[in-house]
Subunit: 142 residues, 2 copies
């Protein structure tokens, strides 16, 4: 149950690109260019549900969700944010932070399992990761 | 933007039964006996996204999600908890807290839009609300 024992679940690793690290969580970008979609994974082994974290870290995770939310708002001006910790497929604790638009590929339904992922091209991925890192840095200063 | 101006969205009112009130939120029971499914609605007008709340109330909402999570764990021993603030259909800020089981009607997918709701019978509803109130009370003392 300590930080050194944390290993990212291979399915999350396969579906995402690494963006950066916050105090508690890894920030991952879902490899689906249809949505601006981040996933936060607390770097603690053995966690499944949000309430499995110690109380202070539950709050810290929410603060990191807030940072990501502000970054996505600044990046793509979403009509709605979707925040979700589901984990039925991948039980390792992770939180989705997804920018939704009324004309996106899944609106108004949830994004999970809708259509086929559209992987980022190399240039678009490099740009998006750089934008996100800059916005997360700015939000964490703000 | 003050508490007196808060009104529950009519769609949420139509889909749920009132269970009780916590410090920030109304606790509602989704009228679908297939799942043990609570919805928290912060009693603040004009809120859409979790990050629209003042920072301290963001934490308070998470604390109330935690209470509901513990109540659902005690009630039905779920395999997984699903926590989600989506709001694509009903923009008023609300958080789903759903007890999931590997043999439930939607597993392993999300619950939204799956099949037809199974409304509670009168006796089952009365029992479930009483159980939830007792568990929420116990969790809030813990």
């Amino acid at each position: 149950m300590n930080e050194t024992a944390f290993e990212l679940h291979p399915q999350l690793a396969a579906d995402t690109h690494f963006v950066g690290t916050l105090g508690l969580s890894r920030v991952l970008l879902m490899d689906d260019a249809r949505f601006a979609w981040l996933i936060l994974v607390p770097m603690r082994a053995g966690m499944r549900d949000w309430i499995d974290l110690p109380h202070a870290q539950q709050h810290q995770l929410l603060d990191e969700v807030e940072l990501c939310s502000h970054a996505l708002r600044a990046l793509v001006r979403p009509d709605k944010l979707n925040i979700a910790s589901l984990g039925n497929m991948v039980a390792q604790l992770h939180v989705h932070v997804i920018a939704r638009h009324v004309d996106d590929a899944a609106w108004p339904g949830p994004v999970w399992g809708v259509g086929a992922r559209v992987p980022y091209g190399a240039g678009a991925l490099t740009r998006r990761k750089a934008e996100l890192l800059a916005l997360l840095h700015a939000a964490s200063q703000g």
